[in-house]
Symmetry: C2
Subunit: 167 residues, 2 copies
């Protein structure tokens, strides 16, 4: 490989790593996940873990953990390479998978939890309103109920987004 090709390959790698680091951080995932995926994304051939460790300068531990998360997201898959017993990894172009995972695992549980919290809040605010017949208590109840509407609206949005991305 000539010197300038190697150079631009490295530059491409850097851009890809950067791109995906920024991407995964939107979803609150660690930087190393973005680095690994970014490297695999522009690699023409599947890479073994020690290549990933070397090229990114990260630890074996990070690479191992990162790869297993990425596999669980369906964002990378492992490939058998003839006459090499090491596991090789390849990026899947599964943008919707990682996003869907974010919605279903990060967002959905919180929304679920939030629903229950809001129920309890309504109950307490009703109680307060009954004993303490002030304008204040009533308006707090009203607000909480308005918030419940927003919560529902948000939840309805998620399946729409997922569908749009899968379409």
């Amino acid at each position: 490989m000539s010197a300038d090709i190697q150079e631009s390959t490295e530059e491409l790698r850097g851009l890809s790593v950067d791109f995906f680091v920024s991407f995964v951080q939107v979803f609150g995932l660690p930087k190393s996940i973005g680095q690994i995926y970014g490297l695999l994304f522009v690699s023409p051939d599947p890479l073994p873990m020690d290549e990933i460790v070397n090229q990114l300068g990260i630890s074996k531990g990070s690479a191992s953990q990162g790869l297993s998360l990425l596999k669980s997201l369906g964002a990378v898959s492992s490939i058998a390479i003839h006459a090499d017993r090491r596991e090789h990894f390849e990026a899947d172009l599964n943008v919707s998978r990682i996003v869907t995972h974010f919605f279903e695992n990060r967002l959905e549980p919180r929304l679920e939890h939030g629903d229950r919290r809001l129920e309890e809040m309504v109950a307490l605010a009703r109680l307060a309103k009954r004993s303490d017949r002030t304008q204040g208590a009533a308006s707090v109840l009203t607000r909480i109920q308005a918030l419940q509407k927003w919560q529902k609206r948000g939840r309805n949005l998620i399946p729409m987004v997922v569908r749009w991305l899968k379409r």
Copy 2:
């Protein structure tokens, strides 16, 4: 105020704080922001900063910074109270504001940046493909172009979401 009312008021406050801490964390905002908003949300009357500091047990610094962020989001507004020179704060039920702010300030700049990165990546991959006529170089270019499509799709989604929430 009777003992049981005061008690359930405190419980309500705790639930609200919890709810909003969890909410803001989805958007990568600090916990204190959620605490402050949660407290104001269930307060019948506007509160001065020192009340917020006392009730939440946070520092003056956090409260000051948090309130100014919340004001900038349009999530709280300040209210003048007769014969009290302290600034009083009230929660606005502006769920869409905070979400819109997230999209426009956190997401949009990243997407913008991502667009530029992808352009550079395409350029480099084209170069690589021209000099190095292997299957690998060509397939890397194809992937990057596929990613560009996803990026566009994501960007188109945002105005839709914002509209849905504002509607």
